[in-house]
């Protein structure tokens, strides 16, 4: 069954998205897994726009409301032992109700802790990362914040990353 990427979108928005230009850049960067899964350290990265309340500030959605083509390009750190009630969410393009009920739908820290405990993966890194989705302009991700997060992950010994665009 092929996945219909537009199944849950209203028709007019689906047509708009289909028509957006996309430039595929070659070559495609590709890093082969250097060791077996049960020796790999994983990090989780989402664009759910979540943050840890009381530790880091929410994303700047006020500016996005004023400038709809702008999105906050910065990131937030989410520790693996974060408690559900510490999760804040301010994504303007989806209903945040479900991620506020269970952050595992975006940043599956508990599922990865289980895989670590059963020995399927080597370990889950101490820190996960959250970006704000729906970025029309990804220059700052590419030039600044993406490389910063890559360096932070490598600093924690990460080998592999699960990404969940939201």
């Amino acid at each position: 069954m092929p996945v219909d990427s537009f199944k849950f979108l209203p028709g007019s928005i689906a047509a708009y998205y289909r028509g957006l230009p996309a430039q595929r850049e070659e070559p495609l960067p590709f890093t082969r897994l250097s060791k077996p899964l049960d020796e790999c350290r994983f990090a989780l990265v989402t664009t759910a726009g979540i943050h840890q309340k009381g530790v880091e500030p929410p994303f700047d959605t006020e500016r996005e409301k004023r400038e709809p083509f702008w999105g906050d390009p910065t990131f937030r750190r989410i520790p693996r032992d974060v408690r559900q009630e510490e999760i804040g969410a301010c994504h303007l393009h989806t209903n945040n109700r479900d991620v506020l009920l269970d952050l595992n739908i975006a940043l599956p820290v508990h599922r990865f802790a289980e895989l670590e405990a059963e020995g399927t993966i080597g370990s889950l890194a101490p820190t996960g990362y959250s970006f704000m989705g729906y970025q029309m302009n990804t220059t700052e991700w590419r030039e600044r914040y993406g490389p910063e997060v890559a360096a932070l992950m490598k600093g924690e010994g990460v080998d592999a990353v699960l990404l969940t665009p939201f």
Partner: protein, 114 residues
């Protein structure tokens, strides 16, 4: 985009997306496609079995994928389609949708005026 940056930095990545259409057009190192509403890459809250199934498939892809591979999962969303189409949406339209709706209204007013 972030996946490409991380791969270039020497990290192996796998991306789980509701929109494999974009992954194909933009070029993503390894992609798992799921037919879920937006905001639910790993399924519904509390649905541990689906979350784990998607992650296990992602781990397999991480080991096996050729560059650019997209693997689609056959997982049906359990909600009624009309309900699901509304349920994932924000309580108020996003800034960009609001702007588009206002533009369309203005265009319509203009057409009606002439």
């Amino acid at each position: 985009m972030l996946a490409r940056t991380f791969e270039a930095a020497g990290l192996s990545t796998v991306l789980v997306t509701m929109m494999p259409y974009w992954a194909e057009r933009l070029g993503v190192p390894r992609t798992i496609g799921v037919e879920f509403p937006y905001g639910h890459p790993l399924g519904r809250p509390g649905d541990r079995d689906t979350q784990t199934a998607v992650i296990r498939e992602s781990l397999r892809l991480l080991e096996e994928a050729a560059p650019g591979e997209i693997r689609e999962m056959d997982l049906a969303w359990p909600q009624d389609l009309d309900e699901a189409k509304k349920d994932w949406q924000p309580l108020e339209p996003s800034p960009i949708i609001k702007m588009m709706l206002e533009r369309r209204k203005a265009q319509r007013r203009q057409q009606e005026g002439t």
